[in-house]
Symmetry: C2
Subunit: 640 residues, 2 copies
């Protein structure tokens, strides 16, 4: 009878109480949303069978897509870009190998095989493959804790290759299982802070090279490193420091030039190679070793030897490569994917993160078989590649060929490279990673994100890299869980002369609120983590409403809950609603719900909550709910 | 100029671009929401100073509130309830002590001191204090792993008291720091499954007592226990089994009676005591020991000795009491608070979870000083207390006094209690905890909650208690994180003849959608965990829209994002919006946002996103946004 009366006052549309979808349907749609949000197979799903196969191959091996369309015009651009990134790859390869405490030649090897693999399987047209400072340092640190590279270089190298192999397998697996979204759990704030902190400790470590100190601490934190530098004053070589400062000034000047005139980017891209060459000539002719300026030392001619048999899974040591492999896999992915994506955006292309992961993974697996250590798509190199006008993945192939020629013909020449030149190159690269303006921006916009960033920055600088990273990621997760534990609720008020209902705190208008009615908007999701809170908060809204004279009426008789923003609810959330209804019933307050979304309504139907409050108390809009309430006021005797 | 033109078409209300609140303000309001959602000091905040003090004392020590108003009429009810729960406390105390592998007298001690403390500090009028089977078993298991109670009972007991002390300190600390919401991270589904699993393993363990087996496994999982029972067939005593089955049948019958006629609840409440007394008489007169029916053994007269000096923080052992203390603290709180609350709801009262935690904590701290082990508010006992008509916390005091008299005068009589009677009492209590109907309900309503529940149930039954609990809690957190990683988005459609916009999947009406406009509603929150997904999903909506002919127009020109349901956003989320805008700009698609909530709008202003898209593309309602779009269509040359 109640429903009948209310129907008269009911407007054109009713809430859709359709039968809930089956479990299979919801599961399927949830899985699709979780694993295939970008609908990767869209291009060939509806193609005819023969095309489907071709499209499929092209999807998984992108070189089949771009190579057939390749022409000489594109090649001219790619050759130029390839030469430019190769000139960066040589000094970076040697420098970062130094951070990983491995022989410099391995740094050069690592810019030969992996770019080939990426050119076949990678889908980003701008990404340039290479080694990265952060991951090199992590590898050096983590494996160095287990085995000293000076005591047992063979074993140390085996573990480095094993770490690279583990990285590759993990990256491939994440891509194949389409778990790429896990990388999202590293927030930008964490990465920004982590990179900054790493840049600080890597720069400080270079003081060893700049001052030509022979004995150095193995710790990375700021305090230990600075202490060592000052304690070892007697080992300082002023000649080395002078050379270092000149190189640093030169590198810095070229960067300054690039910032002033972006067209001159190639000067700053070539600068590291110039530094290495000038440094080498100087060291050779001035017999720099005599003045305490160390050089890299012998480099053998020849391309990458096979290291398949060097992979070492000895249970006594394997924990170190696993740790290094897992951390660097995630970091390398985060850097590589973010960078590929951001360059793709500027060119209005799209990259598929999961597919990129597979490319990175294969590149590292093959790398670990061929004397390479971890590679990814570093930001600096990719930016240079882009600026140099690369058009396709061919620029990576050009770079690889140049590296091959270098390895076959020129490698021994680089043995005269002074360490101080490498230190200057690394330091100069690191300064750019400390992004003061970003920290300030975070501070301005979101204090919690700023904390997450600073925890990473300070944790890395003053404790160590894993701890800083773990603390920052943990803080990010706590934030997420805290958010779901405390979803925002607000009281809605009718904006005068409209049918809009908005947060009264945000739109403090003085309007005619209807006595006895309280309208609340609930936040999302309503889960076990917050179901108790939501209940308490609603009760508090009612108390607040009853205690101030705002609502003219002295007591709340009707509460309207706008669930339009609630996209998900679980069992405990539903139980919370049952409890709330019991509590309010005792106070003679009626509950109406407005606009439950599909997933929420399904669960409310299945759990019989809708039957409990009555279908006539579920409305499609706040206006409907108020209408029904007014109607009931006019005819109270007919209802209660 | 653009803003000017649009103003003409703009309706009565504008988006409120007020200056963002200061950091202090938002921090304060966030902290209040997180720690004081129930506004606990509401009653005495605005009272005059002298009243304020009194109210404050009454708030922290509730006995000052209810005792002055106490009268004989209430006392009559409480005495009856107190006697009833005392009759339950004696057999339960002895039985559960057995589960914790401690002497039975400690079970009796534990029903003497803690109820007194709770009566002073506790705020629930119905809660009856006592020991619980689950936590007793956890204590027995965890500490038993470190020290065997048969080899070194003194040390074992010291560690049990230490665990109780740690539990008490932790509970008090959580309450004082108002971190009670952490208990919410144990969902109902986890607790239901955990309790069921525990009931299974506890019941199986009682087969030892029922069959009178002397040598038993220390493992708890189903497989090990059943194996032991069958291997030790030669130790079975049929006399014991017969007695056990008779007791079980009797206890079960009284429960059946209670379910049929709820008024006869006192029969089932008294049944365990009757079992103990009849069992004791039988054992005494029939010399049951001869037939393999073991009895409890000597019980000394006298009340609780002090155990302050027994607290043992020896680093060799302290890990076990810490583990036991932390797990049982959380479980005991979850049970005690949930139960206090659910009974309060039936009587339209409110309990403050954080205050209750302090009461439980103090009760356990004092308990650990006075030979008691862990106590909380067990469900069964509280239900009996409520049914027996208790009116205030006085019923706990009555129970405590009866326990004192029992300890001083009658304790030795209970030494003849046969173990088989205790096993029957425990088993009968446990059967009620396996809630088949709840599992089925979960299965029907929410498959994910069902999984969480079953992981706890099966994990506890087949692995062990901590693992089962940890797996289930972990699964719950993964669900929460996954939810935030994949918030629901939907396409909105105008319901004919209204100004309502609803999910097209939920309300599949055939309506005149305006060509070129796509309206999407985004889920909440937009965090780093999902910012990439949200961007991809929006792009997919656009592709879907463009590929089906539904929208008449062939391409999307304008996308309207309804942010009304988005209650929170972080820095990565904002960056995602910037990226989205860049991507869409390249496709010549305009972005408009509708009804950003206060927190979201503040961050969008601070991060200059609003300046980036232009204030004239931020609207208060979808209608406004469409209106503005139409207006722009009419006057295209004036705008682009």
């Amino acid at each position: 009878m109640e429903g009948e009366i209310l129907e008269n006052s009911h407007p054109i549309h009713n809430v859709n109480f359709a039968k809930p979808r089956s479990f299979g349907e919801t599961l399927r749609s949830d899985l699709v949303e979780t694993l295939f949000p970008d609908d990767p197979f869209k291009d060939f799903r509806n193609a005819p069978p023969n095309k489907k196969f071709l499209k499929g191959v092209q999807y998984f091996v992108p070189i089949f897509e771009w190579l057939p369309k390749y022409n000489m015009k594109l090649f001219r651009y790619d050759v130029l870009a390839g030469i430019t990134i190769a000139s960066l790859a040589i000094p970076q390869g040697i420098s970062y190998a130094n951070l990983a405490k491995i022989p410099p030649i391995i740094g050069l090897y690592s810019s030969f095989v992996p770019p080939f693999i990426y050119a076949i399987f990678g889908s980003s047209k701008n990404l340039a493959v290479g080694t990265v400072a952060t991951c090199s340092l992590i590898i050096g640190q983590t494996i160095g804790e287990k085995v000293s590279p000076t005591d047992n270089l063979k074993l140390y190298l085996q573990l480095v290759f094993t770490a690279t192999f583990i990285t590759g397998v993990l990256q491939t697996a994440l891509g194949v299982l389409r778990l790429g979204f896990l990388v999202d759990f590293l927030s930008h704030s964490t990465i920004t802070g982590f990179m900054g902190g790493t840049a600080v400790i890597i720069s400080l470590q270079q003081l060893k090279g700049i001052f030509g100190i022979s004995h150095f601490t193995t710790k990375t934190d700021v305090v230990s490193v600075l202490k060592t530098v000052f304690i070892r004053r007697h080992e300082w070589h002023w000649q080395s420091a002078v050379v270092g400062i000149i190189f640093l000034a030169f590198l810095h000047f070229t960067k300054y030039l690039k910032n002033k005139k972006p067209k001159l980017f190639w000067i700053s891209a070539m600068a590291p190679l110039v530094t290495v060459i000038v440094g080498g000539l100087f060291a050779y002719f001035a017999h720099a070793e005599k003045y305490g300026i160390h050089v890299v030392g012998p480099l053998k001619r020849g391309i990458n030897p096979s290291t398949i048999k060097d992979l070492n899974f000895d249970l006594n040591y394997v924990s170190a490569p696993i740790k290094a492999g897992v951390i660097t896999a995630i970091l390398a992915l985060a850097e590589g994917i973010a960078i590929g994506r951001s360059f793709a955006i500027t060119q209005n292309q799209q990259t598929d993160g999961n597919k990129e992961m597979i490319a990175f993974g294969l590149m590292n697996i093959v790398g670990s078989f061929t004397s390479c250590y971890l590679t990814t798509g570093p930001f600096s190199k990719t930016a240079v590649n882009y600026n140099a006008g690369c058009k396709t993945q061919m620029s990576n192939i050009v770079m690889a060929i140049i590296m091959m020629l270098t390895l076959l013909l020129l490698a021994p020449l680089f043995s005269y490279t002074p360490m101080v030149a490498l230190s200057a190159i690394i330091m100069s690269a690191m300064f750019g990673l400390i992004e003061y303006d970003k920290y300030y921006h975070l501070y301005k916009v979101d204090k919690f994100d700023f904390c997450i960033c600073m925890v990473a920055f300070l944790g890395v600088s003053f404790i160590n890299m894993d701890t800083g990273l773990a603390l920052s990621v943990g803080l990010g997760m706590i934030r997420t869980l805290l958010y779901t534990a405390r979803p925002a609720t607000c009281k809605l008020i009718n904006l005068p002369n409209t049918n809009l209902y908005r947060d009264v705190e945000q739109y403090p208008v003085s309007t005619h609120s209807i006595p006895g009615i309280l309208i609340l908007q609930l936040g999302s999701p309503i889960f076990y983590t917050n179901s108790g809170y939501v209940r308490e908060r609603i009760l508090r809204w009612i108390r607040d409403e009853e205690s101030n004279g705002d609502s003219q009426g002295d007591s709340v008789e009707h509460i309207i809950l706008d669930l339009g923003g609630v996209t998900s609810i679980d069992m405990t959330g539903i139980e919370g609603f049952f409890e709330l209804r019991r509590l309010l019933e005792a106070k003679a307050i009626k509950v109406a719900i407005v606009n439950p979304r599909i997933e929420v309504l399904e669960k409310m139907i299945k759990s019989k909550f809708i039957d409990n409050i009555g279908k006539e108390f579920v409305f499609l809009s706040i206006d409907d709910a108020i209408e029904a309430y007014k109607f009931r006021l006019d005819a109270p005797n007919k209802l209660t």
